[in-house]
Symmetry: C2
Subunit: 371 residues, 2 copies
């Protein structure tokens, strides 16, 4: 495959801790229900999985937010539960409810039957990646993604979303051997899944550890962090075009483990939720000019977007100011920031508030660099 | 009022950072649905509020866990939403659902109408405190409690539990003036409420900031921490018996703000959830022998109680070991630990597992002190 040359590399440069003239911005779940055009496409597709498994629809919705806003990256439209679905767990989305698995993994027999899925069952994802990259035509880079081994295991064991994680934690504390086996398989499956996305054209990959933050200290390191490491260790480092592929890891609620993540994860970027002081995070793990460190991504509370546009812009500037001026020396690497929310955008967000956000990030981050 | 002399002061001593011969233990929500005798009393009372507002029933259920387990403290059986209910918001508990307010506080007029409630409307709580303290007969101390100003405001604005806190955060970012007014009234109401509990016989008080952890860095300090400070500044320091009344503050999900809480909160004890490394927390805020610091309370994941009793005991020992040996010099103050869960006990907990937990805490903490 050959794709058009990249026109806006600000996101990839910031991932590599290279200087950029503005702070790149994209939003988790930027292709989503807050956009009327997304709702229209989903209605045509009939269902969420009908949308996610249809290459043309997935391409269409991925590009929708880029038509409205000058975002600096696109992210594959898909679901984090495609991998366990391909393992045969039977994913469904009932109307008005979250995801549900027909065959949750709760006993020794179910765990023994688990295996890394046949990649052909996920072909629709890889085809979507290639289609989106082609449709982007070099405008901005395309991010591929997966749920983390732990986060996938939460859904696989609970069978659905959970408020207390009782079933998986019962397994964790009662039969850690079973959970370790699930996580090892998940890690290998996630690595294969992300590598196939890279082969299909993804220019960066992100691991969403959405539920790492529910774990106890000690358990996080053993049951989440260790398996994210196992994923990262197996990832391809370059795409078919020979370009390096930055890796982002985001643990929601993981602020207390920021140092452990920075030390132990072989990735370029760490995502942060809104509970973290971005200035303190930069000081701890952002590195200095010429030295090692992690690029930081985040961390506006998505609820800020319910405030009037002027207040949205003010809060965006506050986040940029907390990080402080990124380094500007094109000759070296140094601390960089990728602006994002601290969690997926809410379906109730007024679309025009997003425009105010993106504009504020671009203009204020340019002003910050002028000092 | 005059009450029987206290026979087991290990909890109060640990709150004051005085040496004890074992680590005291109690459990958040220890009087609750996991106990069949609680379910029986609640059935007699007809409803949750029927239970909470009936002095004899409230006394009965408060003492139930103490009849089963050698716990080192009792906590008033009540609900955190009694104060906004007394403000006239109309609290109800529909079957199978959480609490709900008939009159949520969402606009300027509702905020303007808000006031510190008439203490007579909360008389049933103070009467329960006196009744429980009398019934305890000095066996262990009685802890009174309240929700924090921010946590009460979450329910008052949302009208019920929430998964995204969209309504209150919209107010926070759009009309911070309205939220500050709610929080100021809540703080004064909570202080009066806790002072009346102290006058009625509570020997320690705890502020539950159950939802502080959902706030962004910066917003936590301005909208939660500042108003918990305002509560603490108004609290009586001694009971009618002349004894000092230790103050505990617990922010679930507040681990990132531990230093700020230790510096700014005029309280004796900080509660910690399971995401916090208890050894690191002790090093940061636990103080040294003879020096200032906070006693620490926590922090076992309540889900551990679903594992077999031997594993429960093992995890309890792990928590005690993370804290390390408390100081043992009776002549001075120093780092102390009060064992607890990191959140309320689950209704699905097997009661016999709690017995294993309490036994393990008592025996292992005695062994730790022998070195």
């Amino acid at each position: 495959m050959s794709f058009a040359p990249l026109l806006n590399d600000s996101f990839l440069r910031a991932c590599r801790r290279q200087a950029t003239d503005h702070t790149p911005v994209w939003l988790m779940r930027q292709a989503g229900r807050y956009l009327p055009e997304y709702v229209a496409t989903r209605a045509k597709a009939g269902s969420f999985m009908g949308l996610a498994t249809h290459v043309d629809y997935a391409t269409e919705v991925t590009l929708q937010p880029l038509a409205r806003y000058p975002l600096d990256a696109a992210i594959l439209f898909s679901d984090i539960l495609t991998v366990p679905d391909a393992m045969g767990l039977g994913l469904s989305f009932a109307a008005g409810e979250g995801p549900r698995f027909a065959h949750p993994v709760r006993d020794e027999a179910a765990v023994a039957a688990l295996a890394v899925p046949d990649p052909e069952k996920l072909r629709y994802v890889f085809d979507a990646v290639t289609s989106i990259r082609t449709a982007l035509n070099g405008r901005v880079p395309l991010i591929g993604f997966s749920g983390s081994p732990w986060t996938l295991a939460c859904y696989m064991v609970e069978g659905a979303g959970s408020s207390d994680y009782r079933l998986i934690k019962t397994m964790l504390y009662s039969r850690p051997d079973l959970l370790h086996r699930i996580l090892a398989i998940n890690a290998d499956a996630v690595a294969a899944y992300l590598n196939a996305q890279i082969a299909a054209g993804a220019q960066a990959v992100m691991v969403f550890d959405s539920w790492g933050g529910v774990l106890a200290d000690g358990a996080f390191q053993a049951f989440s962090l260790a398996y994210t490491r196992r994923v990262l260790a197996q990832l391809r480092r370059t795409g078919d075009d020979g370009q390096d592929v930055p890796r982002i890891v985001f643990t929601k609620g993981g602020g207390l483990w920021l140092d452990a993540m920075a030390e132990q994860l072989d990735c370029e970027v760490l995502g942060l939720d809104w509970t973290v002081d971005l200035g303190a995070a930069r000081a701890r793990v952002g590195g200095s000019a010429g030295g090692p460190g992690k690029a930081l991504q985040g961390n506006l509370d998505p609820n800020v977007l319910f405030a009037p546009p002027a207040r949205v812009a003010e809060e965006a500037r506050r986040v940029l100011d907390r990080f402080g001026a990124p380094h500007t020396d094109p000759a070296t690497i140094g601390p960089t920031h990728i602006f994002n929310l601290g969690h997926g955008i809410s379906q109730y967000t007024p679309p025009e508030h997003v425009a105010a956000l993106v504009e504020a990030v671009h203009s204020h981050s340019r002003a910050l660099r002028r000092g």
